[in-house]
Protein backbone atom coordinates (compact mmCIF):
# COMPACT_ATOMS: atom_id res chain seq x y z
CA UNK A 1 0.00 0.00 0.00
CA UNK A 2 1.41 3.35 -1.06
CA UNK A 3 1.34 6.41 1.14
CA UNK A 4 0.41 9.94 0.12
CA UNK A 5 4.09 10.73 0.24
CA UNK A 6 4.79 7.91 -2.24
CA UNK A 7 2.24 9.35 -4.64
CA UNK A 8 3.71 12.80 -4.22
CA UNK A 9 7.18 11.48 -4.99
CA UNK A 10 5.90 9.62 -8.05
CA UNK A 11 4.03 12.70 -9.24
CA UNK A 12 7.05 14.95 -8.79
CA UNK A 13 9.29 12.32 -10.37
CA UNK A 14 7.20 12.40 -13.57
CA UNK A 15 7.57 16.17 -13.62
CA UNK A 16 11.29 16.01 -12.99
CA UNK A 17 10.86 17.98 -9.76
CA UNK A 18 12.71 15.63 -7.39
CA UNK A 19 16.16 16.36 -6.08
CA UNK A 20 18.92 14.09 -7.31
CA UNK A 21 19.02 12.16 -4.04
CA UNK A 22 15.23 11.70 -3.96
CA UNK A 23 15.21 10.58 -7.56
CA UNK A 24 17.93 7.99 -6.98
CA UNK A 25 16.15 6.65 -3.91
CA UNK A 26 12.83 6.38 -5.77
CA UNK A 27 14.38 4.68 -8.78
CA UNK A 28 15.92 2.08 -6.51
CA UNK A 29 12.48 1.41 -5.02
CA UNK A 30 10.84 1.32 -8.46
CA UNK A 31 13.21 -1.42 -9.55
CA UNK A 32 12.04 -3.60 -6.70
CA UNK A 33 8.38 -2.60 -6.32
CA UNK A 34 5.86 -3.57 -9.04
CA UNK A 35 2.98 -1.70 -7.39
CA UNK A 36 5.04 1.47 -7.39
CA UNK A 37 5.78 0.98 -11.09
CA UNK A 38 2.08 0.47 -11.83
CA UNK A 39 1.11 3.63 -10.05
CA UNK A 40 3.82 5.52 -11.85
CA UNK A 41 2.37 4.42 -15.18
CA UNK A 42 -1.15 5.33 -14.07
CA UNK A 43 0.04 8.83 -13.21
CA UNK A 44 1.77 9.17 -16.56
CA UNK A 45 -1.36 7.99 -18.38
CA UNK A 46 -3.52 10.46 -16.48
CA UNK A 47 -1.14 13.29 -17.30
CA UNK A 48 -1.18 12.15 -20.92
CA UNK A 49 -4.97 12.36 -21.04
CA UNK A 50 -5.00 15.80 -19.51
CA UNK A 51 -2.27 17.06 -21.80
CA UNK A 52 -4.22 15.82 -24.80
CA UNK A 53 -7.36 17.60 -23.67
CA UNK A 54 -8.22 19.79 -26.62
CA UNK A 55 -8.58 23.51 -26.07
CA UNK A 56 -12.07 24.83 -26.08
CA UNK A 57 -12.96 27.29 -28.76
CA UNK A 58 -13.66 30.71 -27.35
CA UNK A 59 -17.37 31.44 -27.92
CA UNK A 60 -16.44 34.88 -29.23
CA UNK A 61 -13.42 37.07 -29.73
CA UNK A 62 -12.16 38.75 -26.59
CA UNK A 63 -10.35 41.46 -28.51
CA UNK A 64 -10.62 44.94 -27.09
CA UNK A 65 -12.36 47.66 -29.04
CA UNK A 66 -11.05 51.20 -28.87
CA UNK A 67 -13.54 52.18 -26.19
CA UNK A 68 -12.76 49.24 -23.93
CA UNK A 69 -9.06 49.82 -24.45
CA UNK A 70 -9.43 53.46 -23.49
CA UNK A 71 -11.25 52.46 -20.35
CA UNK A 72 -8.72 49.77 -19.60
CA UNK A 73 -5.77 52.03 -20.33
CA UNK A 74 -3.31 52.16 -17.46
CA UNK A 75 -4.52 54.95 -15.25
CA UNK A 76 -1.40 56.63 -14.04
CA UNK A 77 -3.56 59.70 -13.57
CA UNK A 78 -6.02 57.94 -11.35
CA UNK A 79 -4.55 58.97 -8.03
CA UNK A 80 -3.87 62.59 -8.99
CA UNK A 81 -7.38 62.78 -10.44
CA UNK A 82 -8.89 61.35 -7.28
CA UNK A 83 -6.87 63.77 -5.18
CA UNK A 84 -7.91 66.68 -7.37
CA UNK A 85 -11.54 65.66 -7.20
CA UNK A 86 -11.51 65.34 -3.45
CA UNK A 87 -9.54 68.55 -2.85
CA UNK A 88 -11.62 70.62 -5.22
CA UNK A 89 -14.80 69.31 -3.64
CA UNK A 90 -13.48 70.31 -0.22
CA UNK A 91 -12.34 73.71 -1.48
CA UNK A 92 -15.69 74.25 -3.15
CA UNK A 93 -17.50 73.51 0.09
CA UNK A 94 -15.33 75.93 2.02
CA UNK A 95 -15.66 78.68 -0.59
CA UNK A 96 -19.42 78.34 -0.90
CA UNK A 97 -19.82 78.32 2.87
CA UNK A 98 -17.53 81.36 3.16
CA UNK A 99 -19.48 83.08 0.44
CA UNK A 100 -22.78 82.44 2.22
CA UNK A 101 -21.26 83.66 5.47
CA UNK A 102 -19.91 86.85 3.92
CA UNK A 103 -23.11 87.49 2.06
CA UNK A 104 -25.34 87.20 5.12
CA UNK A 105 -22.72 89.12 7.07
CA UNK A 106 -22.80 91.91 4.51
CA UNK A 107 -26.54 92.23 4.97
CA UNK A 108 -26.42 92.44 8.74
CA UNK A 109 -23.03 93.86 9.61
CA UNK A 110 -23.44 97.47 8.37
CA UNK A 111 -26.60 98.01 10.38
CA UNK A 112 -25.05 96.50 13.44
CA UNK A 113 -21.87 98.47 13.07
CA UNK A 114 -23.73 101.68 12.42
CA UNK A 115 -25.68 101.21 15.60
CA UNK A 116 -22.56 100.32 17.50
CA UNK A 117 -20.55 103.15 16.04
CA UNK A 118 -23.31 105.69 16.05
CA UNK A 119 -22.52 107.28 19.43
CA UNK A 120 -18.88 107.70 18.62
CA UNK A 121 -19.36 109.00 15.14
CA UNK A 122 -22.29 111.08 16.10
CA UNK A 123 -20.29 112.59 18.94
CA UNK A 124 -17.38 113.28 16.66
CA UNK A 125 -19.56 114.93 14.14
CA UNK A 126 -21.38 116.74 16.84
CA UNK A 127 -18.17 118.20 18.15
CA UNK A 128 -17.17 119.25 14.71
CA UNK A 129 -20.52 120.65 13.86
CA UNK A 130 -20.62 122.54 17.08
CA UNK A 131 -17.21 123.96 16.35
CA UNK A 132 -18.52 125.04 13.03
CA UNK A 133 -21.61 126.55 14.44
CA UNK A 134 -19.80 128.42 17.19
CA UNK A 135 -17.51 130.05 14.67
CA UNK A 136 -20.20 131.09 12.28
CA UNK A 137 -23.19 133.32 12.45
CA UNK A 138 -25.23 130.33 11.40
CA UNK A 139 -26.54 129.15 14.65
CA UNK A 140 -29.89 128.45 16.09
CA UNK A 141 -31.47 131.21 14.05
CA UNK A 142 -33.22 130.22 10.92
CA UNK A 143 -30.79 131.76 8.52
CA UNK A 144 -30.72 128.98 6.09
CA UNK A 145 -32.81 131.03 3.72
CA UNK A 146 -29.98 133.55 3.60
CA UNK A 147 -27.54 130.93 2.50
CA UNK A 148 -26.58 130.69 -1.11
CA UNK A 149 -29.69 130.09 -3.17
CA UNK A 150 -27.60 127.97 -5.47
CA UNK A 151 -27.41 125.34 -2.79
CA UNK A 152 -30.91 124.41 -1.80
CA UNK A 153 -29.77 121.09 -0.55
CA UNK A 154 -27.19 122.65 1.65
CA UNK A 155 -29.63 125.10 3.05
CA UNK A 156 -32.04 122.38 3.84
CA UNK A 157 -29.47 120.36 5.62
CA UNK A 158 -27.93 123.29 7.39
CA UNK A 159 -31.36 124.22 8.39
CA UNK A 160 -31.80 120.91 10.04
CA UNK A 161 -28.42 121.23 11.63
CA UNK A 162 -28.97 124.63 12.99
CA UNK A 163 -32.46 124.37 14.38
CA UNK A 164 -34.25 122.43 16.99
CA UNK A 165 -36.40 119.71 15.60
CA UNK A 166 -39.71 121.05 14.57
CA UNK A 167 -42.59 120.02 12.46
CA UNK A 168 -41.77 122.70 9.99
CA UNK A 169 -38.21 121.54 9.84
CA UNK A 170 -39.26 118.00 9.37
CA UNK A 171 -41.54 119.06 6.61
CA UNK A 172 -38.78 120.89 4.93
CA UNK A 173 -36.56 117.90 5.19
CA UNK A 174 -39.33 115.83 3.78
CA UNK A 175 -39.56 118.17 0.85
CA UNK A 176 -35.92 117.86 0.06
CA UNK A 177 -35.41 114.26 1.02
CA UNK A 178 -38.17 112.08 -0.31
CA UNK A 179 -37.22 109.33 2.09
CA UNK A 180 -37.16 111.62 5.07
CA UNK A 181 -39.74 109.66 7.00
CA UNK A 182 -37.64 106.53 7.43
CA UNK A 183 -34.69 108.69 8.15
CA UNK A 184 -36.53 110.45 10.90
CA UNK A 185 -37.59 107.16 12.21
CA UNK A 186 -34.11 105.74 12.37
CA UNK A 187 -32.91 109.05 13.71
CA UNK A 188 -34.75 108.41 16.89
CA UNK A 189 -33.10 105.06 17.21
CA UNK A 190 -29.68 106.51 16.82
CA UNK A 191 -30.58 109.45 18.93
CA UNK A 192 -30.69 107.23 21.91
CA UNK A 193 -27.06 106.45 21.38
CA UNK A 194 -26.23 110.06 20.77
CA UNK A 195 -27.60 111.04 24.13
CA UNK A 196 -27.18 112.99 26.35
CA UNK A 197 -26.58 115.77 23.82
CA UNK A 198 -29.65 115.22 21.72
CA UNK A 199 -29.04 118.33 19.78
CA UNK A 200 -30.04 118.95 16.26
CA UNK A 201 -26.49 118.58 15.00
CA UNK A 202 -26.24 115.15 16.49
CA UNK A 203 -29.60 114.57 15.00
CA UNK A 204 -28.27 115.44 11.59
CA UNK A 205 -25.22 113.32 11.95
CA UNK A 206 -27.33 110.46 13.10
CA UNK A 207 -29.69 110.90 10.23
CA UNK A 208 -26.81 110.59 7.83
CA UNK A 209 -25.53 107.58 9.63
CA UNK A 210 -28.73 105.72 9.80
CA UNK A 211 -29.55 106.61 6.25
CA UNK A 212 -26.39 104.87 5.23
CA UNK A 213 -27.44 101.82 7.13
CA UNK A 214 -30.72 101.55 5.32
CA UNK A 215 -30.20 100.44 1.81
CA UNK A 216 -33.37 101.99 0.33
CA UNK A 217 -32.44 105.47 1.40
CA UNK A 218 -28.82 105.34 0.50
CA UNK A 219 -29.28 107.89 -2.22
CA UNK A 220 -30.66 110.35 0.21
CA UNK A 221 -27.87 109.63 2.63
CA UNK A 222 -25.39 110.36 -0.07
CA UNK A 223 -27.20 113.54 -0.88
CA UNK A 224 -27.00 114.59 2.73
CA UNK A 225 -23.35 113.77 2.79
CA UNK A 226 -22.72 115.79 -0.33
CA UNK A 227 -24.74 118.64 0.99
CA UNK A 228 -22.69 118.71 4.14
CA UNK A 229 -19.37 118.50 2.43
CA UNK A 230 -20.33 121.24 0.04
CA UNK A 231 -21.34 123.30 3.01
CA UNK A 232 -18.01 123.04 4.74
CA UNK A 233 -15.95 125.07 2.27
CA UNK A 234 -18.27 127.99 2.76
CA UNK A 235 -16.22 131.10 3.48
CA UNK A 236 -18.06 131.69 6.67
CA UNK A 237 -16.97 128.37 8.11
CA UNK A 238 -13.96 127.94 10.33
CA UNK A 239 -10.90 126.03 9.11
CA UNK A 240 -11.54 122.89 11.22
CA UNK A 241 -14.65 122.27 9.21
CA UNK A 242 -12.61 122.05 6.07
CA UNK A 243 -11.71 118.53 7.02
CA UNK A 244 -14.01 115.99 5.43
CA UNK A 245 -16.92 115.11 7.57
CA UNK A 246 -16.74 111.63 9.11
CA UNK A 247 -20.00 110.82 7.49
CA UNK A 248 -21.83 107.97 5.85
CA UNK A 249 -18.97 107.37 3.45
CA UNK A 250 -17.15 105.06 5.94
CA UNK A 251 -20.18 102.78 5.90
CA UNK A 252 -20.38 101.81 2.26
CA UNK A 253 -23.05 99.87 0.50
CA UNK A 254 -22.84 96.16 1.42
CA UNK A 255 -20.27 94.82 -0.99
CA UNK A 256 -21.54 91.56 -2.43
CA UNK A 257 -18.85 91.20 -5.05
CA UNK A 258 -16.54 89.13 -2.83
CA UNK A 259 -19.18 86.60 -1.78
CA UNK A 260 -20.32 86.40 -5.39
CA UNK A 261 -16.77 85.80 -6.58
CA UNK A 262 -16.24 83.12 -3.95
CA UNK A 263 -19.55 81.53 -4.88
CA UNK A 264 -18.60 81.42 -8.56
CA UNK A 265 -15.18 79.94 -7.84
CA UNK A 266 -16.75 77.47 -5.43
CA UNK A 267 -19.35 76.35 -7.95
CA UNK A 268 -16.71 76.07 -10.67
CA UNK A 269 -14.58 73.86 -8.42
CA UNK A 270 -17.63 71.78 -7.56
CA UNK A 271 -18.40 71.25 -11.24
CA UNK A 272 -14.75 70.35 -11.90
CA UNK A 273 -14.75 67.93 -9.00
CA UNK A 274 -17.93 66.22 -10.16
CA UNK A 275 -16.72 66.07 -13.76
CA UNK A 276 -13.39 64.50 -12.82
CA UNK A 277 -15.11 62.19 -10.34
CA UNK A 278 -17.65 60.98 -12.88
CA UNK A 279 -14.98 60.47 -15.51
CA UNK A 280 -12.96 58.44 -13.05
CA UNK A 281 -16.04 56.49 -12.12
CA UNK A 282 -16.85 55.57 -15.70
CA UNK A 283 -13.27 54.58 -16.42
CA UNK A 284 -12.82 52.56 -13.29
CA UNK A 285 -14.65 49.34 -13.83
Amino acid sequence: MLTDQDYERLSAYVDGELSKAERTALETRLDADAELRTELEAIRATIGLLAALPARKAPRNFTLDARTARRAAPRVLFLPAAAFSALSAAAATVLIALSALLYSGAQVAPLASSIALAPTQADAFQREAQATLSSTPLSTEKQSTTASPAQPEESAVMDAAGSVPSVENADQSADNLPAAAPIQESESTVMQFAAPNTTADANLAASGMSAAASAPILEQAAATSVALSTATPAPTLAPPTATPAPMPAPVPQPDNSLPALLLIIGLALLVASITVGVRMGTRWR
Binding site: D4, Y7, E8, L10, S11, A12, D15, E17, T38, E41, A42, I43, R44, A45, T46, I47, G48, L49, L50, A51, L53, P54, A55, R56, K57, A58, P59, R60, N61, F62, T63, L64, D65, A66, T68, A69, R71, A72, A73, P74, R75, R285
Partner: protein
Protein backbone atom coordinates in the same frame (compact mmCIF):
# COMPACT_ATOMS: atom_id res chain seq x y z
CA UNK B 1 -2.74 26.32 -24.73
CA UNK B 2 -1.00 27.39 -27.87
CA UNK B 3 2.70 27.96 -27.74
CA UNK B 4 3.94 31.49 -27.91
CA UNK B 5 3.11 33.69 -30.86
CA UNK B 6 5.91 34.36 -33.34
CA UNK B 7 7.36 37.83 -32.75
CA UNK B 8 5.42 37.92 -29.53
CA UNK B 9 7.75 40.44 -27.90
CA UNK B 10 7.23 42.85 -30.79
CA UNK B 11 3.49 42.80 -30.24
CA UNK B 12 3.91 43.13 -26.50
CA UNK B 13 6.19 46.14 -26.90
CA UNK B 14 3.76 47.79 -29.30
CA UNK B 15 0.80 47.01 -27.03
CA UNK B 16 2.64 48.56 -24.10
CA UNK B 17 2.85 51.75 -26.14
CA UNK B 18 -0.93 51.67 -26.46
CA UNK B 19 -1.24 49.83 -29.78
CA UNK B 20 -4.58 48.07 -29.31
CA UNK B 21 -4.27 46.18 -32.59
CA UNK B 22 -1.00 44.66 -31.46
CA UNK B 23 -2.59 43.66 -28.19
CA UNK B 24 -5.53 42.14 -30.05
CA UNK B 25 -3.11 39.96 -32.01
CA UNK B 26 -2.04 38.52 -28.67
CA UNK B 27 -5.67 38.16 -27.60
CA UNK B 28 -6.58 36.22 -30.73
CA UNK B 29 -3.61 33.95 -30.24
CA UNK B 30 -4.30 33.16 -26.59
CA UNK B 31 -8.06 33.52 -26.26
CA UNK B 32 -8.90 29.82 -26.72
CA UNK B 33 -6.38 28.86 -24.07
CA UNK B 34 -7.52 31.50 -21.62
CA UNK B 35 -11.15 30.63 -22.23
CA UNK B 36 -10.44 26.90 -21.84
CA UNK B 37 -8.71 27.42 -18.53
CA UNK B 38 -11.53 29.68 -17.37
CA UNK B 39 -14.14 27.18 -18.49
CA UNK B 40 -12.45 24.36 -16.62
CA UNK B 41 -12.02 26.39 -13.48
CA UNK B 42 -15.47 27.97 -13.59
CA UNK B 43 -17.49 25.10 -14.98
CA UNK B 44 -19.81 27.01 -17.28
CA UNK B 45 -19.53 28.89 -20.51
CA UNK B 46 -21.04 32.21 -19.50
CA UNK B 47 -18.85 32.61 -16.42
CA UNK B 48 -15.83 31.44 -18.39
CA UNK B 49 -16.45 33.98 -21.14
CA UNK B 50 -16.88 36.75 -18.57
CA UNK B 51 -13.71 35.75 -16.75
CA UNK B 52 -11.75 35.49 -20.02
CA UNK B 53 -12.89 38.92 -21.17
CA UNK B 54 -12.06 40.38 -17.79
CA UNK B 55 -8.67 38.72 -17.92
CA UNK B 56 -7.80 40.36 -21.24
CA UNK B 57 -8.98 43.75 -20.07
CA UNK B 58 -6.90 43.40 -16.92
CA UNK B 59 -3.96 42.18 -18.98
CA UNK B 60 -4.12 45.27 -21.17
CA UNK B 61 -4.40 47.49 -18.13
CA UNK B 62 -1.47 45.82 -16.38
CA UNK B 63 0.70 45.28 -19.41
CA UNK B 64 3.38 47.50 -17.88
CA UNK B 65 3.82 44.94 -15.10
CA UNK B 66 4.84 42.27 -17.58
CA UNK B 67 8.63 42.39 -17.73
CA UNK B 68 9.97 39.23 -19.26
CA UNK B 69 9.57 35.47 -18.99
CA UNK B 70 6.60 33.55 -20.30
CA UNK B 71 3.85 35.83 -21.50
CA UNK B 72 1.51 32.86 -21.50
CA UNK B 73 2.21 32.18 -17.80
CA UNK B 74 1.70 35.88 -17.05
CA UNK B 75 -1.60 35.83 -18.91
CA UNK B 76 -2.76 32.62 -17.22
CA UNK B 77 -1.97 34.13 -13.88
CA UNK B 78 -4.31 37.02 -14.63
CA UNK B 79 -6.94 34.62 -15.97
CA UNK B 80 -6.71 32.42 -12.89
CA UNK B 81 -7.10 35.42 -10.62
CA UNK B 82 -10.06 36.64 -12.66
CA UNK B 83 -11.68 33.24 -12.20
CA UNK B 84 -10.97 33.23 -8.48
CA UNK B 85 -12.47 36.69 -8.16
CA UNK B 86 -15.57 35.47 -9.93
CA UNK B 87 -15.76 32.36 -7.76
CA UNK B 88 -15.43 34.49 -4.64
CA UNK B 89 -18.21 36.74 -5.89
CA UNK B 90 -20.34 33.69 -6.49
CA UNK B 91 -19.62 32.37 -3.02
CA UNK B 92 -20.90 35.61 -1.59
CA UNK B 93 -24.07 35.19 -3.63
CA UNK B 94 -24.85 31.53 -3.15
CA UNK B 95 -28.13 31.77 -5.06
CA UNK B 96 -26.51 29.82 -7.87
CA UNK B 97 -24.71 26.88 -6.34
CA UNK B 98 -21.57 25.85 -8.13
CA UNK B 99 -22.93 22.33 -8.61
CA UNK B 100 -26.14 23.64 -10.14
CA UNK B 101 -24.38 25.42 -12.95
CA UNK B 102 -24.38 23.86 -16.37
CA UNK B 103 -21.56 21.37 -16.36
CA UNK B 104 -20.21 18.55 -18.43
CA UNK B 105 -23.66 17.18 -19.09
CA UNK B 106 -24.78 20.37 -20.74
CA UNK B 107 -24.23 20.97 -24.39
CA UNK B 108 -20.56 21.71 -24.82
CA UNK B 109 -20.92 22.58 -28.44
CA UNK B 110 -19.29 20.66 -31.21
CA UNK B 111 -15.78 19.37 -30.62
CA UNK B 112 -12.96 21.25 -32.25
CA UNK B 113 -12.54 20.27 -35.87
CA UNK B 114 -9.93 17.60 -36.04
CA UNK B 115 -8.24 16.08 -39.05
CA UNK B 116 -8.93 12.60 -40.27
CA UNK B 117 -11.25 11.24 -37.66
CA UNK B 118 -14.53 9.52 -38.29
CA UNK B 119 -17.79 10.85 -36.88
CA UNK B 120 -17.74 7.96 -34.44
CA UNK B 121 -14.28 8.88 -33.27
CA UNK B 122 -15.33 12.49 -33.00
CA UNK B 123 -18.25 11.54 -30.77
CA UNK B 124 -15.99 9.36 -28.65
CA UNK B 125 -13.43 12.13 -28.32
CA UNK B 126 -16.12 14.56 -27.29
CA UNK B 127 -17.37 12.09 -24.68
CA UNK B 128 -13.87 11.54 -23.36
CA UNK B 129 -13.30 15.26 -23.15
CA UNK B 130 -16.53 15.64 -21.23
CA UNK B 131 -15.57 12.82 -18.92
CA UNK B 132 -12.17 14.31 -18.18
CA UNK B 133 -13.56 17.77 -17.68
CA UNK B 134 -16.25 16.37 -15.43
CA UNK B 135 -13.60 14.67 -13.31
CA UNK B 136 -11.55 17.85 -13.14
CA UNK B 137 -14.61 19.74 -12.07
CA UNK B 138 -15.11 17.27 -9.25
CA UNK B 139 -11.86 18.39 -7.65
CA UNK B 140 -11.53 21.08 -5.04
CA UNK B 141 -10.82 24.47 -6.60
CA UNK B 142 -7.22 24.63 -5.37
CA UNK B 143 -6.38 21.17 -6.68
CA UNK B 144 -8.26 21.81 -9.90
CA UNK B 145 -6.32 24.97 -10.65
CA UNK B 146 -2.95 23.39 -9.97
CA UNK B 147 -3.85 20.39 -12.11
CA UNK B 148 -4.99 22.56 -15.02
CA UNK B 149 -1.95 24.80 -14.87
CA UNK B 150 0.40 21.85 -14.66
CA UNK B 151 -1.05 19.11 -16.83
CA UNK B 152 -3.18 21.06 -19.30
CA UNK B 153 -1.21 24.28 -19.58
CA UNK B 154 2.11 22.59 -18.83
CA UNK B 155 3.51 25.27 -16.58
CA UNK B 156 6.38 24.58 -14.20
CA UNK B 157 5.93 24.17 -10.44
CA UNK B 158 7.66 27.50 -10.03
CA UNK B 159 5.21 29.25 -12.31
CA UNK B 160 2.23 27.55 -10.66
CA UNK B 161 3.49 28.55 -7.22
CA UNK B 162 3.78 32.15 -8.41
CA UNK B 163 0.30 32.13 -9.93
CA UNK B 164 -1.50 30.50 -7.03
CA UNK B 165 0.56 32.16 -4.34
CA UNK B 166 1.57 28.97 -2.53
CA UNK B 167 4.95 27.35 -2.02
CA UNK B 168 6.43 24.59 -4.13
CA UNK B 169 5.67 21.89 -1.56
CA UNK B 170 1.98 22.81 -1.61
CA UNK B 171 1.95 22.77 -5.41
CA UNK B 172 3.53 19.34 -5.33
CA UNK B 173 1.06 17.83 -2.86
CA UNK B 174 -2.01 19.44 -4.42
CA UNK B 175 -0.99 18.23 -7.83
CA UNK B 176 -0.43 14.69 -6.59
CA UNK B 177 -3.84 14.54 -4.94
CA UNK B 178 -5.50 16.10 -7.97
CA UNK B 179 -3.97 13.52 -10.30
CA UNK B 180 -5.05 10.72 -8.02
CA UNK B 181 -8.55 12.16 -7.85
CA UNK B 182 -8.89 12.45 -11.62
CA UNK B 183 -7.51 9.00 -12.12
CA UNK B 184 -9.96 7.50 -9.65
CA UNK B 185 -12.83 9.39 -11.27
CA UNK B 186 -11.88 8.25 -14.76
CA UNK B 187 -12.20 4.60 -13.69
CA UNK B 188 -15.92 5.06 -14.24
CA UNK B 189 -15.28 5.93 -17.91
CA UNK B 190 -12.93 3.07 -18.60
CA UNK B 191 -14.55 2.22 -21.93
CA UNK B 192 -13.75 5.68 -23.25
CA UNK B 193 -10.13 5.57 -22.24
CA UNK B 194 -7.22 4.79 -24.51
CA UNK B 195 -5.74 1.32 -24.14
CA UNK B 196 -2.65 2.57 -22.32
CA UNK B 197 -4.69 4.01 -19.47
CA UNK B 198 -6.87 0.89 -19.26
CA UNK B 199 -3.88 -1.35 -19.05
CA UNK B 200 -2.20 0.54 -16.30
CA UNK B 201 -5.43 0.90 -14.38
CA UNK B 202 -6.38 -2.71 -14.74
CA UNK B 203 -3.28 -4.00 -13.19
Amino acid sequence: MASSLPNEQTFITAAKRGDVDAFNRLVLHYQDGVYSLAYRIMGDEASAADAAQEAFILAYRRLETYQDGSFKAWLLRIATNACYDELRRRKRRPATAFEDLPGAEADDGPPLPSDEISPEQAVQQAELRRAIEGCIRGLQTDQRTVLLLSDVEELSYQEIAAITGVNLGTVKSRLSRARLGVRGCLEAFRELLPSGFRQSSNQ
